[in-house]
């Protein structure tokens, strides 16, 4: 039986776990708590560790569960109302002929992202905008960019057909663009 070695957990995995938590929840304190809980749960469960996956993968799986639990408890569960999903969102952006609605048409972006400090501000807004997406839209964007997955794998993970995938990511992109324009690039 493979055993695990908790004495090196913090040294080897803390950074990666913390970064992952930060990419999913909005404040650093909460991310710290989640990582700490992950270590604790890991310690409690270490006798069940079978070495079927690496220690890192195992701890990351625990962290993912913690994050899901957090959102479930906070009432921001991955289930949003179905009518939100079903409503034809694209009519918000385009008219019946498929042309941009005047108020939704892309405007020129004036604010550039010049340095790391500005980028940090921008990322804060980006995260707020991502939180406003539908649960599915957000999941697709996260799988695509945070987990760097291929489209085919995302479809498999989220049980989507290829055409659904394109509709969802297209819509998410339209929403994200509009949100960023409103909150970052317009002033």
């Amino acid at each position: 039986m493979t055993t695990c070695n908790p004495t090196v957990w913090v040294k080897l995995y803390a950074d990666e776990l913390f970064k992952f938590a930060c990419s999913r929840v909005s404040d650093t304190g909460l991310a710290q708590d989640l990582v700490q809980d992950t270590f604790l749960s890991g310690l409690q469960a270490m006798h069940q560790f079978r070495g079927e996956s690496s220690e890192k993968t195992w701890l990351l799986a625990i962290l993912k569960n913690k994050i899901n639990d957090h959102f479930r408890m906070a009432g921001k569960a991955a289930i949003t109302t179905l009518d939100m999903e079903a409503r034809d969102q694209q009519l918000i952006f385009f008219n019946e002929k498929g042309h941009w609605r005047k108020e939704m048409a892309p405007r020129p972006w004036t604010t550039d992202i010049n340095d790391k400090a500005e980028q940090a501000d921008f990322f804060r807004i980006l995260r707020t905008c991502m939180d406003k997406l539908t649960s599915l839209g957000k999941a697709v964007i996260q799988h695509k960019y945070l987990d760097e997955k291929k489209s085919a794998d995302i479809c498999k993970d989220l049980s989507l057909t290829s055409s659904n995938y394109w509709v969802i990511i297209h819509r998410a992109r339209l929403q994200l663009r509009a949100c960023l324009e409103k909150n970052w690039f317009s002033n």
């Binding site: 913390f18 960019y145 663009r177």
Partner: protein
């Protein structure tokens, strides 16, 4: 002529979808590529959309890298926590 042109030319909604596919390296047919090119020649909004989508794409790729590591103090707390747990576990 006008009529035929209308059928060849994708609308803005279609163009934004084609842009999405192109961004994700999905192969487009030559008709789609032609329609996209032609539409972009004439439509300032969609030209902006292409530019802005590229910026978003780039920033999203950097997004994950942007998070800093936890500070040393926090890590020391965690180390202590693990050590305390293990000691306790052995004693039991």
């Amino acid at each position: 002529m006008g009529k035929h042109l209308h059928h060849l030319m994708p609308c803005c909604k279609d163009v934004t979808m084609l842009v999405e596919k192109r961004l994700q390296q999905e192969p487009l047919t030559w008709m789609q590529r032609l329609g996209l090119k032609f539409h972009l020649l004439l439509c300032v909004y969609c030209r902006r959309y292409v530019k802005q989508t590229a910026i978003m794409h780039r920033q999203l790729q950097e997004y994950r890298e942007a998070f800093t590591a936890p500070n040393e103090q926090v890590k020391q707390q965690w180390e202590a926590l693990v050590a305390a747990y293990l000691k306790n576990d052995k004693d039991l």
